[in-house]
């Protein structure tokens, strides 16, 4: 579904991506992890076609999105949903108007049908009753959920989540991860989750891509990743989890999914 080939990107002479190669199968959800400034969000924006690589390619269904212009790019983006770190809700619109916006602008669905779909989507993210509120009147967790509803309302085939739990309290963060899991089971999109939520995110993803020094240092299932012998991975896990032995007993499994069993 998505294939990234030898992707390079520099900013003002500073190389951020130094040859990323990655493949994501249809219906698969992967976690993109790594230290701050390793280029996770930059890679995500390349997948979305928001940035152009210095060299290398991003292929979606075999088509190089770097070569897409105008109508083709629009067509690709109509298949894509993106959950921004800050939600990126339109602050002059209510929650309802935000979620309805892509349907009103991109489809020819009638107002009644749009209302039904928006209310259904808001109910999916547990936001029923908040449709008339403005983004500034709701909490950070609600903003994330409203943004999730907006990105899912057009039934995208590919979902990109840029740090969906950053800035949220642990309970709300966990609720968002559970929601992503539930929605994935319902809609079966292909997904990429950029996150620092380790190890909790491992319960909702099929594979983990670890970025280090601008390349993918490890790409494995969560269980393989946890028991990786790669020194960088061991050091990262030790630093993130605050435990010296990542090969120790099973990690906390708050989401309750059995995805790590793979």
């Amino acid at each position: 579904m998505i294939r990234i080939e030898d992707l390079h990107k520099s900013f003002n002479g500073h190389a951020v991506l130094r040859g990323i190669t990655l493949e994501i199968a249809k219906g698969e959800v992967i976690a993109l992890i790594g230290g701050s400034g390793e280029g996770k969000s930059v890679l995500m924006k390349h997948i979305a076609g928001l940035m152009k690589p210095d060299s290398g390619r991003v292929l979606v269904d075999g088509n190089n999105i770097g070569s897409f212009r105008g109508g083709y790019l629009k067509q690709l983006r109509s298949r894509l949903g993106f959950l921004f770190q800050g939600g990126a809700l339109f602050d002059s619109m209510t929650v309802f108007e935000n979620v309805a916006f892509p349907l009103e602008e991109k489809t020819k669905i009638g107002k009644k049908k749009i209302r039904e779909r928006v209310l259904e989507q808001l109910s999916n993210v547990d936001l029923s009753g908040s449709e008339d509120k403005f983004p500034s009147q709701i909490s950070g967790g609600m903003v994330k959920r409203a943004a999730l509803a907006r990105s899912l309302v057009t039934d995208p085939e590919i979902m990109l989540f840029d740090e969906p739990t950053t800035g949220l309290d642990p309970v709300t963060g966990l609720a968002i991860l559970k929601l992503i899991n539930v929605i994935h089971e319902k809609f079966s999109f292909t997904g990429v989750v950029v996150t620092h939520e380790i190890p909790r995110v491992f319960d909702i993803v099929d594979r983990v891509a670890f970025l280090k020094d601008g390349v993918v240092a490890a790409y494995a299932t969560p269980r393989e990743f946890m028991s990786s012998s790669i020194p960088e991975v061991k050091a990262f896990l030790a630093g993130t989890l605050g435990r010296p032995d990542p090969d120790g007993p099973d990690f906390f499994n708050p989401v309750g999914s059995d995805r790590t069993a793979g």
Binding site: F84, G86, K106
Partner: protein, 259 residues
Amino acid sequence: MELIRRLGAVVLLHVSRMGVMGLFLIKAFFYAVVPPIKWRRLLKQISFIGFQSTVVILLTSCFTGMVLGFQGYYNLSRVGSEAFLGAMVGLSLVKELGPVLTALMVTGRAGSAITAEIGIMRITEQIDAMELMGLNTYRYLVVPNLLAGIISLPLLTAIFDVVGIFGGYLIGVKLLGVGVGSYFGVMSTYIGMKDVLEGLYKAVSFGILINWVCCFKGYYTSIFTGFGAEGVSKATTQAVVLSSVLVLIWDYFMTGLLY
């Protein structure tokens, strides 16, 4: 040698930015003439740029006309020509002060807000979100402002002219004793349709110029002026300063062209 290299780099940077700015305007015009137009957004911006600027325009135009009444009367009376006050006030307003001061007021009131709004949308990734929805951001953010400017500025200028002439009338006729027939008589003798149109052409061009600069500065906030609140603040300041300066420079060239 190093100095020349740095100077060259600065020149190249500014030339390339001017190129980006030029392309921005071309794209905006292209999407302004190729449907669909976002009518609801256009009406909202006409209300914001035009209707909501009316009070400011009424105040500035009235006082500008009154000042012209005083200054015109005292200066013309030195050469015994106070009877020409109406023509002087009218011509000054219709050809120069009306369009220029209207443009400067709109820049300060609406232009700064446009830059800030688009700039905040840029730094909070709302523009990226729109692009990812497959929507044309020019149609939503730039074209309505550009068209609203083209429509609103001449109308505001016309209001400015009329109220300014009335302000001059209050001082010249009611306070200083110039005959009402003389005030409006010389005005209609010396001001032709060409003069009025000259002012309105200027107003249209200022409407384009202000919205071009203000939208551009907001749209490219994080790229040209830095990130976060500081970036938006810088962009807004630059937009107001650049628009105001360009209005005055462009006014000179328009006057030369239309003379």
